[in-house]
Symmetry: C2
Subunit: 418 residues, 2 copies
């Protein structure tokens, strides 16, 4: 895309009411717009990143047999009363609203109840299981505080997958598949090396739930990391008994702040029993369906990437999530420079490499500062100077020094490895 046509612009100053690093940088770079605390719109560059993260998660969910659907925000009071989660003192993040006839509705903070109800239409026999169903859907949560930018929103996109199994063994097998998919997802978005499976408070149906915690100063959780075993324990569940149970030693644990970028819950029959989702086995006996739920917030992942990987100059996007892979900086000069820039732009596009082409009539310093702020992985400069040598200047966002390369080397360095 030509940068001169992009409707957003960068800005030098962060908005005064913004205290989180991720929102400050993302607003300054033109990726998001703050509607109110915890409520952000995604502008073209931001939406591209969000969609890249969504694409990675979707691939991995399909890989483990997930089937994609899309449920609604508006929720029926009667349904949630069946599981005793309607009252605000049972679920304290509800936004409530009303139909014209005054009947109360809620805005879904999560979707166990409606999906369990949907599955009742399709699950009767043991032959109908196991199944895994997921969605990318906007959640609404009436959070008391919302000062972490897009890491904790009142309205935010969520990938929630739910598994439906015949027994605990079948559930456990899928759980391991889903956990492995989560490890791949956090690797692919560039957070793998600082993200730990973390034991957290369980619930009625299991000793622990499992969180994926990314080490990050902006994190709201305190976790204790065993850096040898590559696992962590959430402070809220850290007791001598738990340590003994997990075979961990308090002395080898390091206290860190973490962002919960994903979580997995064993739900047992917590929802299937009150909502009567059961199946009949091959002997004609009825059993409750065993459920699990697996969440990742793509916006929270995006905010965490900004918190963890940015530097003093701006954002540093890993290639797989970057809004564009290459930032082509044209130093306005002769028409020959423009023609060469346009040719390279087309050639890169032809190779399937996404390019933001800075064709603006702007000073070099401003172009470089914008490129650093926006954070695209490969920066390519074309100028009178580079053209004289029949070369391009190439710099990675993660490196300080640019190098002059010829066209063949440029394409070789920038080509996709997979």
């Amino acid at each position: 895309m030509r940068q001169s046509q992009l409707f957003t612009k960068t800005r030098k100053e962060a908005p005064k009411d913004e205290v989180s690093k991720n929102a400050e940088l993302l607003i300054r770079a033109g990726f998001i717009h703050k509607e109110m605390a915890g409520v952000y719109s995604f502008l073209p560059l931001g939406l591209r990143v969000l969609n890249n993260i969504v694409g990675i998660i979707r691939e991995e969910m399909n890989e483990i047999g997930g089937q994609e659907i899309s449920m609604t925000a508006l929720q029926d009071k009667n349904l949630w009363q069946k599981t005793d989660r309607w009252d605000d003192d049972k679920m304290d993040v509800w936004f409530k609203t009303k139909l014209k006839n005054d009947s109360e509705l809620g805005l879904a903070p999560t979707h166990e109840e409606p999906l369990t109800t949907i599955m009742k239409n399709f699950v009767a026999s043991y032959r109908d299981l196991p199944k895994a169903v997921y969605q990318f859907q906007t959640k609404f949560r009436n959070e008391m505080r919302a000062k972490s930018g897009i890491i904790r929103g009142r309205e935010f996109l969520m990938k929630d997958l739910y598994s439906f199994s015949r027994d605990q063994k079948e559930h456990d097998e899928f759980y391991q598949l889903a956990k492995a998919a989560y490890v791949r997802i956090f690797d692919r978005v560039g957070l793998g090396s600082v993200t730990y499976p973390t034991f957290a408070l369980g619930g009625t149906f299991s000793k622990y739930s499992e969180e994926f915690q990314t080490i990050c100063d902006a994190g709201e959780d305190i976790i204790y990391v065993d850096e040898t075993k590559l696992v962590a324990v959430n402070k809220e569940t850290l007791t001598p008994e738990v340590l003994a149970d997990l075979g961990l030693n308090k002395k080898t644990l390091v206290e860190k702040k973490g962002v919960e970028v994903g979580n997995i819950f064993n739900l047992g029959n917590k929802f299937s029993k009150p909502l009567e989702l059961f199946y009949v086995d091959d002997k004609g006996e009825k059993h409750d369906v065993i459920m699990g739920c697996y969440g990742i917030g793509p916006g929270r992942v995006m905010g965490t990437i900004v918190e963890v990987l940015s530097d003093a100059k701006g954002i540093v996007w890993p290639r797989e999530v970057a809004p564009f892979e290459a930032h082509l900086i044209e130093m306005k000069g002769s028409e020959a420079v423009s023609a060469a820039a346009e040719k390279l732009y087309r050639d890169l596009n032809k190779k399937g490499i996404t390019v933001l082409w800075d064709d603006r009539d702007t000073r070099a310093g401003e172009k470089f500062a914008d490129a650093d702020l926006i954070g695209i992985p490969y920066r390519i400069v074309i100028s009178e100077k580079t053209m004289k040598e029949n070369k391009f200047e190439l710099k990675l966002r993660t490196e300080d020094e640019a190098t002059l390369v010829d066209e063949a080397t440029l394409f070789q360095k920038i080509q996709k490895t997979s």
Copy 2:
């Protein structure tokens, strides 16, 4: 995808509380689930169709220079008070809710106010215009009645594009581009021949607004169609003066029911003036930005396709929006039949043709009835009988008779034309 793995199933009876044909068929075929009146979840087959429609619209919006963003449902009261659209008697479809601190929020029924506010950050000079910005986003409208299935929802996906121009002439030029894109969209989704540009009530800033009305018994609008000139007039704006103005003759108009599948509004400075979105021209003078808005509801389009194109046996999807392009029916017999079905499934996938493979252990009659109900354009049958002749049975959903074809002919008939 293997149909044995799809978690949805067809059902013989429509739910008793459903009165619209589109919802009846879509629920029976397992495409959608009704959460409450006017609120539907999209199941795997339904989401695939919806995404295909979204994909077509996105291509056409990008083609006319639209830049995609994603705004929020939650809205700030103060913003909408500036344009006098907060009060329920000014905008009668609001869903309202509250933060924990009791401040009132609304769920956006449309997005002129928040986008105009976003644009204020990026538009200052005549050099920053024109721009066109769009989104696919969930709208909430507190409709009194919602009995038209997914044609009129209380929560529904909407593509809304907004244009920002320097003057009326520039606006009019973009308006024509957008209108031409709409014509292409309705052609591609299979509604072109029954969809008419329709003059409707204007507003403060233009004599008329323009609707795209699809002729359909389920329509809530009455329109008068000139079948020679291929235009229509909405009954609500049909006066002798309007007819004279448009050069239409009452006698040549035919009264029809229509579904408003798209609309275009000239907004003038209705929003830019109160929200102070202006630009400075090359002489240093300030002008209000001239706006337009252009809506299409992908779910409404999907419901209209079902209303218009289905037959007594079920849904008939045009190829570009179908959940899969081919429905491969395997008549369970020898292992050789299964192996041949699997080979064809792989070969079609390799050619980029999407296939639902009915590998279920089910009676032939049930498989055919399901195929008709689901409405995939190409039905291919493999059985002992077809294998004996080294052929496949091919039937279009729009035709009654199947033909036996060899593999080369099958691929030739089913290949994409573009």
